[in-house]
Symmetry: C2
Subunit: 710 residues, 2 copies
């Protein structure tokens, strides 16, 4: 065995750093080729418009991030203080709380940094995509794709870099591997806390702006979408970036960091793993190996000049990366990993680990494709929703909800099989590995995901600059593909969130010395019931948050149209800034309640009722959270595309009664798919990692209410 790993620790670390570097260089390369495209117009007026609009969007995005990060910062520092106060549980000179707090802060910072970079490049790529669209579809596609790739590769590069650095830095101070990994978990918690602000706050922001812009602009005033006269149009375009880039990026960064941490924490309990450098770092290696795989996949991302849709090429990206990754997984697991090791009293072979890894990887792809089936208007489910619009908005809503509920069948079964296989074959370690498998191709996943808002923005800019219809048609083609990939991306994000949360849950149990969790204990079952309710309450809060924030936006847009009648005539300029500020302020305010629910529930519950009740609570949250997230995302996506299907000419087309009904469905679907659904990912993961990080505290101080009752 030793021969195989003769290189030892330094070689493994060198390779991990190498691939992290490769990701960063790739990101820089793509960033450079995007930025170098000059922002020029056919006339000086057009050029000025290009610059004005893209700068307004960039400025709005940065304004949101600045405010968000201010709150993230304050919150993170306060929370770090709490960690220092509660997490000093051993009697060694080492203060665990301090180390956990530091890694927590670094995690939050890294996550925020990668979201920031993604936003930065996306708000530069959008206008450049529009400009290239004047030349041709394939040229515009390249710019949008490369902008997305900056986010994809940059984020993975940072995540891998952060994780390995953390391991090494702490490794040199702390002898005990278990303690080390526990502190690394703080890194994941930091990432997820930042993701909470990104997903929930960003989700509320984007939909408040969208609903506000649409209801007053499109419905009340009858002006087209993305019309420059609409004061909320910049906020709407900012929102696309905030929700789908910063939010999605932080979410997947969290999954990557947390699943890795969970695998590290669980793996550290095995003596065989702890003695072998390749085995120790195996969880990070999975993400690292995904980088070159994703890079190779990128070379296939060329759109033929005669192509009429970007969708097949983007979907093919997922398939190619999955196939290549399968080969890579076989190589690293069979060649690199220990032939077998004992973990938690169970002997695990590297074939077992490989099957876990591949079951995660492939069920991710399956979930992605099923999501597409339920949300693309090329297939029957969305068309049924469109048909139901013929009898009015009520039937559209009923069919859309039913579609979402039903669409959870295959994803849930796929995940149940993955859980069963990986858990049976490799214990809880297997679940963490399966989670890593699902997001191992995250660089590509994020690339095609971030591609969406860039294309969407490019279309908006084309409209605002009043370019010709053939250019708008090209950006629409790019955008349409983005809608589908966004749905697929959400499927991936949910699946990986479930597996990650489950891995964290497992790590929490290991950490709490819970070897068996009897469902037939009253406390566990009561926890399960209460936990099952939380995703519903959280959904209610985030949905209503969007409603309240959208109302503020509606009032403002109405006020501007009323007080400045010149706006609609085109003689007066609308005030974009106030709308951006309103969306920003409302988003931050409305995320407090759901944020508190997520952050406080596990802490309070664990403190009052102890670790077993908390474990029941977490399990309940996972069970309902998974189905709620899948169905909310898919219902929302289906409503959106049912509307688009009608707009493309079906059932009477734009302006028909069916179209009006479909618009109602789409508006209901907006908070479903872009706020509540994706935010549940954070709910599941954050509650689990909070429990993990605070496990030592709950073990020693938890269950006060029970002690009091006795």
């Amino acid at each position: 065995m030793d021969d195989k790993h003769s290189g030892g620790t330094s070689l493994v670390i060198f390779l991990i750093y190498g691939s992290s570097l490769m990701a960063m260089i790739t990101a820089l390369y793509f960033a450079r080729s995007v930025v170098r495209i000059p922002v020029v117009g056919d006339t000086p007026e057009q050029e000025a418009k290009f610059k004005d609009i893209s700068e307004a969007i960039a400025e709005g995005a940065m304004a949101f991030l600045a405010k968000e990060y201010k709150y993230v910062g304050i919150f993170a520092i306060a929370f770090a203080g709490l960690m220092i106060l509660t997490l000093d549980h051993s009697n060694t000179p080492l203060h665990e709380g301090v180390y956990s707090a530091i890694s927590f802060l670094i995690g939050a910072l890294t996550s925020s940094l990668s979201a920031f970079l993604g936003m930065k490049i996306a708000t530069m790529g959008n206008v450049r995509t529009t400009i290239k669209a004047k030349i041709g579809l394939s040229e515009a596609f390249s710019v949008a794709f490369q902008s997305g790739a900056v986010m994809g590769f940059g984020l993975v590069g940072l995540a891998v870099f952060g994780l390995i650095t953390m391991c090494i830095a702490y490794g040199s101070i702390i002898e005990e591997k278990e303690l080390l990994m526990e502190m690394v978990a703080g890194f994941g918690l930091g990432g997820s806390t930042a993701a909470l602000f990104g997903r929930v706050g960003g989700g509320i922001y984007t939909k408040a702006a969208d609903v506000g812009a649409d209801l007053v602009g499109k419905v009340e005033q009858g002006i087209p979408e993305d019309d420059p006269r609409n004061p909320a149009v910049i906020a709407d375009n900012v929102g696309d970036n905030v929700g789908d880039i910063a939010g999605m990026g932080a979410d997947l960064f969290g999954s990557c960091a947390e699943a890795t941490c969970a695998a590290l924490v669980i793996g550290a309990t095995s003596a065989a793993i702890a003695a072998d450098p390749f085995a120790i770092y195996f969880p990070i290696i999975i993400s690292a190996i995904g980088i070159p795989i994703s890079l190779i996949t990128c070379f296939f991302a060329r759109l033929d000049s005669k192509a009429t849709s970007a969708e097949p090429i983007l979907k093919k990206q997922l398939l190619i990366s999955t196939v290549l990754m399968t080969i890579a997984c076989i190589v690293i697991t069979k060649w690199g990993l220990l032939e077998s090791f004992v973990i938690n009293g169970k002997t695990v072979t590297n074939t077992n680990v490989l099957i876990s890894l591949l079951s995660g990887l492939w069920s991710g792809l399956l979930i992605g494709y099923v999501t597409e089936f339920y949300t693309s208007h090329s297939y029957r489910p969305v068309r049924e929703v469109a048909d139901a619009s013929n009898t009015g908005p009520a039937t559209n809503i009923i069919y859309g909800l039913a579609l979402g509920y039903k669409s959870s069948v295959v994803p849930v079964i796929a995940l149940a099989v993955t859980v069963y296989l990986s858990w049976t074959l490799a214990g809880m370690y297997g679940i963490a590995i399966a989670a890593l498998g699902m997001i191992s191709t995250i660089a590509i996943g994020l690339t095609i995901d971030a591609y969406g808002p860039v294309s969407d923005n490019a279309g908006g800019i084309a409209e605002m600059v009043e370019l010709g219809p053939e250019i708008r048609e090209r950006t629409d083609l790019l955008d349409a593909a983005g809608n589908t990939t966004a749905a697929i991306g959400k499927g991936f994000a949910i699946g990986s969130a479930l597996l990650t949360a489950l891995a964290l849950f497992a790590a929490f149990l290991v950490r709490s010395n819970i070897q068996a969790l009897d469902l037939l204990s009253p406390l566990v079952f009561a926890g399960l019931l209460v936990g099952g309710m939380l995703p519903f309450v959280f959904t209610a809060q985030t949905m209503k948050g969007v409603g309240v924030a959208a109302n503020a936006m509606i009032e403002e847009v109405r006020r501007q149209f009323r007080e400045k009648p010149g706006i609609l005539k085109g003689t007066e300029k609308p005030d974009h800034r106030t709308c951006v500020a309103i969306s920003t302020a409302a988003a931050i305010k409305e995320m407090i309640a759901p944020g508190m629910l997520v952050m406080l529930t596990p802490l309070v519950f664990g403190y009052l009722f102890g670790v077993e009740a908390l474990a029941g609570l977490l399990a309940g949250t996972l069970v309902t959270g998974l189905v709620m997230a899948v169905s909310a995302s898919n219902s929302g996506g289906a409503w959106d595309n049912a509307k688009k299907y009608i707009e493309a000419g079906a059932l009477g087309g734009k302006g028909s009664e069916a179209h009006k009904a479909a618009v109602v469905g789409d508006t209901v679907g907006d908070p479903f798919k872009d706020t509540s659904g994706p935010s549940i990912n954070i709910l599941m993961k954050l509650m689990a990692i909070l429990s993990l990080v605070f496990a030592p505290f709950f073990v020693s101080h938890g269950g006060v209410l029970l002690k009091f009752l006795k």
Copy 2:
């Protein structure tokens, strides 16, 4: 101890039969006083109309029941065959399958019989309530209340009679108490199977007729609700009875029978209980003692002649019966029950049993009152939904869904506390006792529940006979109270379904010799995930079932208006019969898929993956089923009352944009609150009791797929 029970078995049995007899006599008495009211009109034409309409409703209701029972019959006989084939598990001369099958058939028959009687009297009480409304509000109230009471008392009387007879009859053949009780469980299964047809089929029927009548009549043709020219109006009125009387009755009959069976099965495992007649029959005694309590409560059900609302008096009924029942519980438990006994290795005192009983009883009341808070337009939540209608149907839907999700908090916590308390204090026996506590006042609960559709029908008849507005106003007042009590009744039904299902789940585990169910077993967790998905799929199926059935109705009503233009002019008679037939056929057809899901899933899952996976599946179903049922019922109730609030004059009143938006919400809410939500009760209970009845089969033959994999 023996002194206390000197009367022994015969006295206990005598008292149980006595109270059953009391219930039946009460039901007969009320039935007689309703039926004796002559159906007379002010003119011979009016009298003919009264008779025509009420006979058409009665005929439609019986046509539905006849068809439903035909299918129930065929299905029950086939299923009994399956039981005989699979359930012969011991080597004694006794064939358990045959006994189980017989009690299954008797259960189905008793349940069907009580639903039939309830429907019969309700379709006689409706027209008599209208006639008495010509005299005054309190006179009309009495008739509606008495009609409801026939259902309430008749059903409980039959349930108690059936249960005790079953115990005695089998007791004389079978020595082994455990085996005896297991066979009695077949009785509960039979009741619940009939309830499946009643709740799901009835739920689809009522909403197909309602939506069809409204969309074509009210929306397309602009004629008022319950207008006699609408061909679907009789089907709509039939539907009220089918859904809220037959469906609700069968559901609660099931809860009562199943919770009793679960308590009997679990209790039979204790040697101390088995040796004491009072203790053996204690579960039946709880329901039996509820009968005189409910009767006393009825004496308080008098409406003052100056009263302007029937709501306070109906709500007070619940409070009075709960207080009286509390006293009765203390007496029977402290005086009658063994001071302590050992069950499943745990010593349980009668105080523990009492606390379990009371926690169920009072959390039922709490759930009822919270339900009222979230669904009555006297309070803030519904008014918020009404306000949200100002910005269109989309915001109405978003706020209504959020309300439902949020409304689950208190019920879930109340049930979690009940589960925790009763389980901790008295083991799984405690949970069954808590379930029985919650439905111990079922005679009163059903009375005020069945009162609703009778009043609703009375209003419809007043409209169709074209009585004066002051009479319609009186029936509207009665009907408004019925809406609130219907919501409360649903809350009770869900709470008791959860506890009953949990008790059955417990009995299933006892029967399968599962002492601990480790959530950290891959199979259990995978089962949990899949189980959590089932209520969503079931909801999707039932919601779409309503959509499909409603479409058939819409086509038919449109056809009649098109082919017979004289209908709208009043010169031609609409064809009610075809509409009734369409609703009936569609309801039966659309219930097949959800019915199969409920019946086959536990059987297939248990057979393929064994009892542990099945236990996980059941737990998952309970967790999501509870929240889904509560939120669907409350969202639906809130949408309905938000519309009524606007119709009463708020936000611009009838015809305003807000009203149109609220109508959309109400239409979405119809299948939520009257089909999907209540049907989940059956899903939870039926899956659990199926598992219980087939437990011996799963133990010996289950898990084939796992064996195959090994």
